[in-house]
């Protein structure tokens, strides 16, 4: 690691390799990100199994756990429906899934894990999925002529001067989406590592308040923003189809 900040102190914000193996001649590492992702997945899978069983039994008067599950699903569905309108039925599963996944990934810092979303290798695929959804829906609901006219948009379609700029702005969508999530969570991780690394024994108990802001509040806001932007872009790509 770089010697600039870290001489003689134990500030630790980086991703560490844990296990090296060879993948078709490439050197590949199992990192701390994989471990925390596995933990997040384990928590979500166990929760989903129990939630599924609770809903399958489905008592007439719901118990506590069933109530909580129904509340979560209703809130997520309400969020998707409020943003996407009549297109919501197709996307409530996907958006609900990434919402819960990103939320738990951001909160994983509270469990002593390194947040998986503080690794650009996790957030960029999420941005790429959003980009794929946007392009897929654009080609599904619009003719090539409309897309061409849209890409040359401020000028008429026979004068494609703005085309390269529009292409760049379309390609910037997944990059800015993923960098926003990544940089927010990474800055939270670095702040907490600085507090714990520099203050040593003085950092007792009171950093809990910082965790509330950097992990819970910031993580929840960024999750909400990522999902909202995904839904907005996708419903823009679908357009006003009847």
């Amino acid at each position: 690691m770089h010697a600039l900040l870290l001489t003689g102190s134990d500030i630790d914000v980086m991703v560490h390799g844990l296990l090296k193996y060879s993948f078709f001649g490439h050197e590949v590492w199992i990192t701390t990100t994989h471990v925390s992702l596995l933990f997040v997945m384990l928590i979500l899978i166990v929760f989903s199994i129990f939630a599924g069983q609770a809903i399958k039994k489905g008592a007439e008067v719901p118990g506590t756990f069933q109530n909580v599950v129904e509340l979560i699903v209703e809130k997520l569905d309400g969020m998707v429906e409020g943003t996407m309108g009549k297109n919501a039925t197709k996307y409530r599963n996907y958006v609900g899934t990434i919402f819960i996944f990103i939320l738990f990934s951001n909160i994983a810092g509270l469990l002593g894990l390194r947040s998986p979303t503080a690794d650009y290798g996790v957030t960029f695929p999420l941005g790429v999925i959003t980009f794929t959804l946007i392009r897929f829906n654009q080609f599904k609901y619009h003719t090539p002529k409309e897309i061409w006219a849209d890409m040359c948009s401020p000028l008429p379609p026979w004068l494609p001067i703005w085309f390269p700029i529009n292409v760049i702005s379309e390609l910037a969508v997944p990059v800015s989406l993923s960098l926003r999530l990544f940089a927010n969570i990474l800055s939270g991780t670095i702040m907490m590592a600085l507090v714990y690394g520099l203050l040593k024994w003085f950092a007792m108990i009171w950093p809990a308040a910082l965790h509330v802001y950097f992990d819970l509040f910031s993580g929840a806001i960024q999750t909400y923003v990522f999902c909202m932007l995904t839904m907005t872009y996708v419903s823009n790509a679908i357009g006003e189809e009847d």
């Binding site: 770089h2 800015s176 960098l179 927010n184 990474l186 800055s187 670095i190 923003v225 932007l229």
Partner: protein
């Protein structure tokens, strides 16, 4: 021209400090957004929840440029400059 390691590390630290000046813009922008949201709530208290969520969304989008500055600073500090 040859530069030694310490010179480059010092320069990258200065560059990181300059890069986080980018935080000024989002600060001003978020303040303006929050101020207008407060005015909107004062005018129409019934729409408080939707105003709040719109404000948070806009602020998070505005924050991106500041985060790019932060990212550049982090790259300068933690990633080896000039592949050292």
């Amino acid at each position: 021209m040859e530069f030694n390691r310490e010179f480059i590390l010092g320069c990258s630290a200065i560059g990181a400090g300059l890069a986080v000046i980018a935080g000024i813009g989002p600060g001003v922008g978020q303040g303006i957004a929050a101020g207008h949201a407060a005015a909107a709530v004062g005018r129409n208290p019934g729409a408080k929840s939707s105003i709040t969520s719109t404000m948070l969304l806009g602020q998070a989008v505005a924050e991106t440029t500041g985060l790019y500055g932060l990212l550049v600073a982090i790259l300068l500090l933690f990633v080896k400059p000039l592949f050292w």
